[in-house]
């Protein structure tokens, strides 16, 4: 069946609503508007306003309410329209959702799923272009998912809802229109492991979410230049799948992390540090990083493009670590 990423997310939400009466979707304009990115289009008509619950502009309030509803036995899917607005709800996410279980000595778990759009690339300017999923991955108690494929867009949600702890799902805005084949019966997928999207032996290109397409494209170009790149899709940023990462690097001895977040203190730094700590003596080159320029993302198309990871920069970084100057 042909499906867009958007439709895959929607199918995942619909699956969940059908499977479990405790599930409901809540957020700004998820209902009457049809979802700001049209993800939830039609669900209001199908499930009614109690379960497709429009909220006022009150990010801290409704995210906190989602936490409370999860504590109260529901399985809320809270949509924050974009990651940019999630900063308003950060106290609730860090100090309540992520902390309650530990702080209560194991008594209160928070089976909450928060979905949000992330990323740049659509000329939305500094306040609407953050990629903060790697930043969120710093917080113990959270699980961070970054679906890059149609299967994951549809299947991660249900697994996340079965998780007793808070899960944040980041959907890159540039993926919604991506289309492909998706099995009609596509169902839950695991959320514990990274996936090799392209096997290869010369260099590990490690990425996730919105940059996966560019990395795959770069791998093709590298193949033409005689570099056989392995593409590892992390799928989950917290906890990281160390086994898969180290297995790939053990094979290739060279790696480049591609991440749309800012470089300093981003998830790419953690990957670089972990790989080096665990495979220092096997590495043939330091871990490369291709990230966004450390600037508030500008509006102008050429400036935004210059700020973001590009196929060209990925290829160049891979060539550098493989000593294939091109």
């Amino acid at each position: 069946m042909k499906s867009s990423y958007r439709e895959a997310v929607r199918a995942g939400i619909r699956d969940a609503l059908q499977r479990d009466p405790r599930v409901f979707l809540m957020g700004e304009d998820v209902g009457a508007y049809g979802g700001s990115f049209a993800v939830s289009l039609g669900l209001l008509e199908e499930f009614g306003p109690e379960r497709i619950r429009d909220t006022p502009l009150s990010e801290s309030g409704f995210v906190g309410a989602g936490i409370g509803a999860a504590l109260g036995g529901m399985r809320p899917i809270v949509e924050i329209m974009t990651v940019n607005f999630s900063l308003l709800a950060l106290d609730q996410i860090v100090n309540n959702a992520a902390s309650l279980l530990h702080m209560s000595g194991g008594q209160f778990h928070v089976p909450l799923v928060i979905r949000m759009t992330t990323g740049a690339g659509r000329q939305l300017g500094a306040q609407h272009s953050h990629s903060l999923e790697g930043w969120y991955a710093h917080i113990p108690g959270l699980r961070i998912l970054v679906p890059a494929t149609l299967e994951d867009a549809r299947g991660m949600l249900w697994t996340a809802l079965e998780d007793p702890d808070p899960v944040l799902i980041f959907e890159h805005g540039s993926l919604y229109n991506v289309t492909g084949e998706l099995d009609d019966g596509a169902g839950p997928v695991d959320i514990d492991t990274a996936a090799i999207r392209r096997p290869g032996g010369d260099v590990s290109l490690i990425t996730y979410g919105g940059t996966l397409p560019a990395v795959l494209e770069a791998a093709e170009q590298l193949a033409d230049a005689g570099v056989d790149a392995e593409v590892l899709d992390l799928r989950t940023l917290r906890p990281l799948d160390d086994d898969a990462i180290l297995a790939s690097v053990a094979k290739t001895r060279r790696s480049v992390v591609v991440d749309e977040g800012w470089r300093s203190g981003g998830i790419s730094a953690e990957l670089s540090a972990r790989i080096t700590e665990n495979a220092f003596y096997e590495l043939d080159a330091p871990v490369g990083r291709v990230c966004s320029a450390e600037v508030p993302i500008p509006y102008a198309r050429h400036m935004e493009a210059a700020a973001l990871p590009s196929v060209e920069r990925i290829v160049a970084a891979a060539r550098e670590v493989t000593g294939n100057g091109g």
Partner: protein, 333 residues
């Protein structure tokens, strides 16, 4: 201040009055002991006691049933105790012992208890309000006839979370009772210096939430107001807000030198000590004998003494358990 300066408190019967007196005494004795134990370095971290405000928790919690839900703040020992968390588990928690209600991980500001639907204990001012809204939403969506009661100080009213929470509760017509403990100060900040509108019930009413102010030193007035509000909430009348006008007799925390208020003000309020008020009225009304009073005191004393003993004999959580409960050990039910 609301209500007459010396209300004539008349419980519906002596047993009821003695019960409320005992509840307040239990909190008072526990808190006094906490202060001593803090000075003796048995309790650490931040400690905020409830001395002077006991009538609020006593009156409100009296009006709830076991299935109802309670959310409180870092000044919540009394709420936990009166909700049914054993005094021993509370003190052991402050001792940092694994027998504590949170294995010693929470401490004074983070008492939680699943058995009594006591959802804490929150050290972020106003952080509990959105949570309480969600708990009430879950009840409403599940068709459960429960009430969520959310306590917070008047300082929390300035936070954006207060605003967002009241609006959500009202918009969605949720079964929640907001209990504002207005003790006139947020640390050193007097209400008039934190709110342009100091009539908090009026503020709450601007969200179309039924709201009124209550003399928080009169436990019977508190109980009556809470019962009326809880019944209304339970019967589907939507969120309610009560402002309890009260006062903390002690410092904000153990670190507070109290530079921001006059001793005379404290003394004036102490004349309206909620325990004394009830005790005196009952004595005057012939509802409390000297023996009764001695008996109640010793009951409270011995409960606290036993709790200290329990805490003292508590053990430490094994250090290897440090990383347990960051994530759950089982899948969700």
């Amino acid at each position: 201040m609301t209500g007459p300066l010396s209300p004539s408190l008349r419980p519906r019967d002596p047993g009821h009055g003695r019960h409320l007196l005992l509840q307040m005494l239990r909190v008072r004795r526990l808190e006094e002991r906490c202060v001593e134990l803090y000075s003796a370095a048995k309790i650490r971290g931040f400690l905020h006691v409830y001395i002077g405000e006991e009538a609020v928790a006593a009156g409100v919690l009296e009006s709830l049933s076991a299935d109802d839900t309670v959310v409180a703040t870092y000044r919540e020992h009394g709420h936990a105790l009166l909700r049914g968390v054993p005094a021993g588990a509370i003190l052991a928690e402050m001792y940092g012992r694994v027998e504590g209600c949170c294995r010693g991980r929470g401490g004074s500001m983070h008492l939680f208890d699943a058995a009594t639907n006591f959802y804490g204990g929150n050290a972020i001012v106003a952080g509990g309000l959105p949570l309480a809204v969600g708990l009430a939403l879950a009840d409403k969506m599940s068709g459960r006839p429960h009430v969520t009661v959310c306590f917070f100080g008047e300082g929390a009213v300035a936070e954006g979370e207060f605003h967002e929470s009241l609006n959500l509760a009202a918009l969605w017509d949720l079964p929640i009772l907001f209990c504002c403990e207005n003790n006139l100060y947020a640390m050193g900040t007097a209400l008039v210096r934190s709110e342009s509108q100091t009539d908090l019930a009026l503020k709450a009413a601007s969200y179309e939430v039924s709201a009124w102010a209550v003399d928080g030193m009169d436990v019977l007035a508190v109980e009556q107001a809470a019962r009326t509000a809880v019944d209304a909430v339970r019967s589907g009348a939507g969120p309610h807000f009560l402002e309890f006008r009260t006062y903390r007799f002690r410092a904000h925390s153990m670190f507070d030198p109290e530079r921001y208020r006059e001793k005379a003000e404290v003394v004036a309020w102490q004349a309206r000590d909620p325990i004394t008020l009830l005790r005196s009225s009952m004595e005057e009304n012939g509802q409390l004998t000297a023996d009764d009073w001695t008996q109640l005191q010793s009951e409270a004393e011995s409960e606290v003494a036993a709790a200290v003993k329990f805490a003292e004999s508590g053990t430490l959580e094994p250090v290897e358990d440090l990383t347990r409960f960051v994530y759950s050990e089982r899948r969700a039910p």
